[in-house]
Symmetry: C2
Subunit: 153 residues, 2 copies
Amino acid sequence: MPQKRLATTLLSTLLCAGLAAPSLASDDSLQEAIDYRSGVMNVFNWNLGPMGAMLKEKIPYDQAAFARHAKDLASAAALDVLSGFPDDSVSDDSAAMSEIWLDWDDFAAKYDDLKQASAKLAEVAAGGDKAAIAEQFDATRKTCKACHKQYKE
Amino acid sequence: MPQKRLATTLLSTLLCAGLAAPSLASDDSLQEAIDYRSGVMNVFNWNLGPMGAMLKEKIPYDQAAFARHAKDLASAAALDVLSGFPDDSVSDDSAAMSEIWLDWDDFAAKYDDLKQASAKLAEVAAGGDKAAIAEQFDATRKTCKACHKQYKE
């Protein structure tokens, strides 16, 4: 992906200025960071999938199960996930685009949107009002999409 | 791995009795379960690594960073991780051994040990007493090892 390589070179230059992203020590650390951040995404998916399926009535709605998934999504989103995106950790093994490090503050803000939205979803889901739950689930999914659109290949 | 296959066959027979593990719907669900549970393990490793390195003085001890890692380890351990081990989800893509489903209650108890130990580690780490932290870190690592010894290839 030549565009990615170009962006990486540009990135390396820009990062000399010392932006806010954590730094990377070795190839091992690169792989660990990728494993970590993709692991967190797997946890997100594991919880988002059944919640979406319940709201679309593909599987029976189960209030307790929904609330548990919402709680776990919020817990996973509250992890220090941004530490899994150290400076210049662009790789063919990762869908993370170099634009993340070119606009770190925006990426971090978009990640924070997920954190806030999923925390609210957990709260609403515990309450059990299905219409409110569906609305907040949509709001949460929108934060995923907003970030992926700009920063995920 | 013939031993694994044999155990799987045995397992399928035994599982007709209906043990406590969650059930599996399709090959897609199998892969999702593996992605989820291995994703959680990646989150564990991401946090255990630096804590171990700090205590072994391979990297400088940083109280705030240690406490954050301990908190995140406990948060990840508190997820509904056992749901990622549905009945009969043995696969060559996973290090999870079939013994898990042959002795589900013991597996679940060993997983609970990690949950308790990591919650205590998060508490001790927030307090900042380095000797107590090192002791509780060892206790936590022991819960990982006890489970891996029996249930991880």
